[in-house]
């Protein structure tokens, strides 16, 4: 296909051509970034979490008398265990995605301070006896805590557990001791030290702390005897029963602790609540992208139709001097191909620029390079699809049009 005549004709229609280029460029830039955002957020929503999410119900208890925790917690656990369908019950200081974080910086050497650059921030899960089974933690190395571990652990004087055993999840183990076996190693917080006795599959934190996956994954577990810090009751049962269990557990605790407020929820709801902001962002961006692509396509249809209508006579002349329908079709297709090409080139530059801006101002990650060509190809295809109708109409112009005056 000869492109010189196309360029010559485009030079005559500079502004409409520029409009199409601009529209495609903007659409390409917004599309790349929006899809990147969607991908990032959707990835967050789908983050795996190695606990029995489907079968868990969680009841939080606020306002219980802290001095009586040691006697009331075992009593509460007994009552919860009697609810029909409950297989495991335990109590923790917080649960994944609850929004209630408990963070500390750990180091791998006793002489390092928690504020040193090399220290690693992690969530601290304090587990009452049986919490491993109740959450459904998956042990990959070592052992879970023993009854003795639980009985001997108490609260320290600076919000750290007084114990010497810990379990870490795989991600934290990999960050603290890259490429080495974590079992038997020690981690430190000021004067406290903990020896790793087990490793579990990756469990999410209660709340994002810091950027990226470490901020949402790093977690360490410690045993704890019944104390006031433990106020998240976790009940595990069949997924079909979770709603009922959450409700009955809330009622049971309200009855036992008349002065406190008990709130029951399924873990599925806790997860939904935590990610509701991200989910809504995804839906909005998807909606905007779809409407934007439709608007762009219709814009191309409209402008090309206008061109076709303007050039009916010229098309007729070309047909009369021997051009076939296929020639006319490919003329408009090539024209669109060139315009889209210019558009997506400009669009990729713009998309890159927007990504840089977002990176500087909103802690956005760098967009992987393949988003650019993917966005470009999408718009290129969109252009070809949009031009199909008008090009067909152009090809249908009969040669006799050449003899009619405009």
């Amino acid at each position: 296909m000869e492109i010189r005549p196309i360029l010559a004709s485009l030079r005559k229609h500079r502004i409409p051509a520029l409009l199409i280029v601009l529209e495609i460029a903007l659409a390409c830039a917004v599309l790349c970034n929006a899809v990147f955002l969607i991908g990032a957020r959707a990835g967050e929503i789908a983050l795996p979490n190695a606990i029995d999410e489907q079968g868990l119900s969680v009841v939080t208890l606020t306002g219980a008398d802290p001095d009586r925790a040691a006697s009331e917690i075992p009593r509460n656990l007994d009552a919860l265990r009697r609810i029909r369908g409950v297989r495991e019950v335990a109590v923790l200081n917080t649960v994944p995605l609850s929004g209630n974080g408990w963070n500390s910086n750990f180091t791998t050497r006793p002489d390092m301070k928690p504020t040193d650059k090399g220290s690693i921030n992690s969530n601290v899960y304090l587990m009452g006896e049986g919490a491993g089974r109740a959450l459904g933690l998956r042990l990959t190395q070592g052992r879970m805590f023993t009854g003795e571990d639980y009985a001997s652990a108490s609260m320290g004087s600076s919000f750290m557990p007084e114990t010497h055993v810990a379990i870490v999840n795989q991600r934290l183990a990999e960050r603290l001791w890259p490429g080495q076996s974590p079992l038997g190693r020690k981690m430190y917080v000021n004067q406290y030290w903990y020896q790793v006795v087990g490793v579990v599959a990756n469990v999410l934190r209660p709340k994002q702390a810091g950027a990226g996956l470490p901020g949402i994954y790093d977690a360490a577990f410690f045993p704890m005897q019944p104390t006031a810090e433990l106020s998240y009751y976790v009940l595990r049962g069949a997924p079909a029963d979770r709603e009922r269990i959450a409700r009955q557990a809330e009622d049971a605790l309200s009855g036992l602790e008349p002065a406190a407020v008990a709130e029951g929820k399924t873990f599925v709801d806790i997860r939904g609540d935590y990610f509701s902001g991200a989910a809504s962002m995804v839906w909005m961006l998807v909606l905007v992208c779809v409407v934007m692509l439709a608007v762009t396509a219709f814009g191309i249809v409209g402008l090309t139709s206008f061109w076709v209508a303007q050039r009916r006579r010229q098309i007729g002349i070309r047909r009369a001097v021997g051009a076939r329908r296929g020639h006319i079709l490919s003329y408009f297709r090539t024209e669109n191909f060139l315009l889209s090409g210019a558009g997506v080139l400009l669009g990729m530059l713009l998309a890159f620029g927007i990504n840089l801006y977002l990176m500087q101002h909103y802690e956005m990650a760098r967009m992987p390079w393949y988003y650019l060509p993917a966005g470009a190809i999408t718009l290129w295809l969109l252009g070809q699809v949009a031009v199909f109708g008008p090009a067909h109409r152009a090809a249908a112009v009969p040669p006799v049009e050449a003899t009619r005056s405009a």
């Binding site: 917004v30 301070k113 504020t115 004087s157 407020v261 902001g277 962002m281 909005m284």
Partner: protein, 439 residues
């Protein structure tokens, strides 16, 4: 002439319904997307207390030192020691401190289950400084603060729950086993963002329900229900019990002062520096004074209150609107140029260019208005459904009001008319002779 051109415009729009519908829909969607995100953005980025934002300051003192502080910035709240020292010094015309509490209202009469009540333990100045409006009664007095009185101020909504909305001043409430006398009921008080409690991260949370005197809460040893940051500071050996809260170096109490003149601000800053210097001399701080006095706008900016989603979605929507407008330019161009013959005839009959401009801009204006009406409808639907798009605590900030609707319409019309300038210019350039000849 306006009416006539308007009619012409309407007729022309009816002639190519598909093209017209395309333009109207594009403008409608574009303007609606921008307005929905704007309706959220204007609230989260707004100034919650415009009349006083330059006179209210939060007080920050670095009690951690260069090794432990946050890149040179002091913690976002004060320790119990420093917060009380600020209040006792009484160096500002008004000063207050507070911390969030969570209490249980015991069952009585018609309620069989305890109610959770969230609120602040604070001082009398809190209400005046933050312009809390009252429905019944008033704030407690400074004497109540010093007498450590068992008094309480209820929120409008909580008064509704407890007393059915009646004037409850003088009645008694049992909060976590202690009796408080109601001295006042606020009107709806829910500044967004809740600028004074950014430390607790509750900028967009539910409004508070009860307020009790700080000193009373202190006597009853009510611990904070909010945030507490110790920031890796060395263990001071006072433990995690009540002693730890009172004598440790963990920060958990925001302090605010009201300073009405630049001179007062300068004086207060000098006082703060002096206080920190005294702590240094006493050996508690081993670093030179590092204090901050931030006013409301400064504090909102420092704490990055505007959620990034809100800003990014606003940018995306505006980008989308621009695409819609570029699209409209193209379609209007197509539409106007199709009528070259008609323009030629008008020009030949003596219409000056100005008339052509007027006619086509009015036509574009009608497209914009139609798009605007569609936009208003979509905005109303969208804001209603904004709960699907934003977290509930952010979503309920978005509201459709008359100004928003007017703005939607105005933006649609103005943007379309601006977009129509180029197509109209092209239309006005049509050579009458050329058009007439070829016909």
């Amino acid at each position: 002439m306006f009416g006539y051109y308007f009619q012409l415009g309407m007729r022309s729009l009816r002639r190519n319904p598909v093209l017209t519908a395309l333009m109207v829909i594009a403008i409608g969607f574009g303007v609606a997307a921008s307005m929905i995100t704007w309706s959220v953005f204007r609230v989260v980025s707004g100034n919650p207390i415009p009349q006083k934002s330059g006179r209210l300051f939060t007080v920050l003192i670095d009690n951690r030192g260069p090794q432990y502080n946050d890149d040179g910035e002091p913690p976002e709240a004060l320790t119990y020691t420093d917060a009380n020292a600020m209040i006792r010094a009484h160096k500002a015309p008004h000063q207050t401190l507070f911390y969030p509490i969570s209490l249980a209202v015991l069952p009585d009469g018609n309620r069989s289950l305890p109610l959770k009540a969230i609120g602040y333990a604070t001082t009398a100045d809190f209400f005046g400084m933050f312009d809390v409006p009252f429905e019944y009664g008033s704030a407690w007095s400074a004497q109540d603060d010093t007498r450590r009185a068992g008094v309480v101020v209820l929120s409008h909504q909580f008064n509704e729950q407890l007393f059915g909305g009646a004037d409850s001043v003088g009645r008694e409430v049992d909060l976590s086993g202690h009796i408080y006398r109601v001295v006042g009921v606020t009107r709806h008080f829910d500044p967004k963002p809740r600028y004074f409690d950014l430390f607790g991260g509750s900028a967009f949370d539910d409004p508070m329900q009860v307020y009790i005197p700080f000193n009373r809460a202190d006597d009853l040893q009510i611990n904070t229900a909010g945030r507490n940051t110790c920031g890796g500071a060395p263990d001071t050996g006072v433990g995690t019990g009540r002693e730890g809260w009172l004598r440790g170096e963990c920060s958990w109490i925001p302090v605010w002062v009201q300073l009405d003149t630049p001179a007062q601000v300068a004086d207060y800053r000098a006082f703060l520096e002096g206080y920190a210097a005294k702590q240094q001399r006493a050996g508690r701080f081993r670093w030179p004074p590092n204090v901050r006095l931030r006013d409301v706008t400064d504090w909102l900016a420092f704490e990055h209150v505007v959620p990034p989603e809100s800003r990014i979605s606003l940018v995306v929507s505006i980008g989308f609107f621009v695409i819609c407008l570029v699209n409209t330019i193209g379609l209007l161009l197509a539409k106007f140029m199709r009528r070259s013959a008609e323009i030629g005839v008008r020009r030949a009959l003596g219409a000056p260019r100005g008339e052509i401009y007027r006619q086509f801009l009015i036509e574009a204006g009608t497209v914009g208005a139609a798009g605007g009406v569609l936009g208003v409808l979509l905005t109303a639907v969208g804001v209603g459904g904004v709960g699907l798009l934003f977290a509930p605590r952010i979503a309920r900030l978005a509201q459709v009001d008359l100004p928003l609707m007017a703005l939607t319409l105005l933006v649609a019309v103005v943007a379309t008319v601006v977009a129509a300038f180029y197509p109209t210019w092209r239309a006005a350039k049509v050579q009458p002779a050329w058009q007439l000849k070829s016909n």
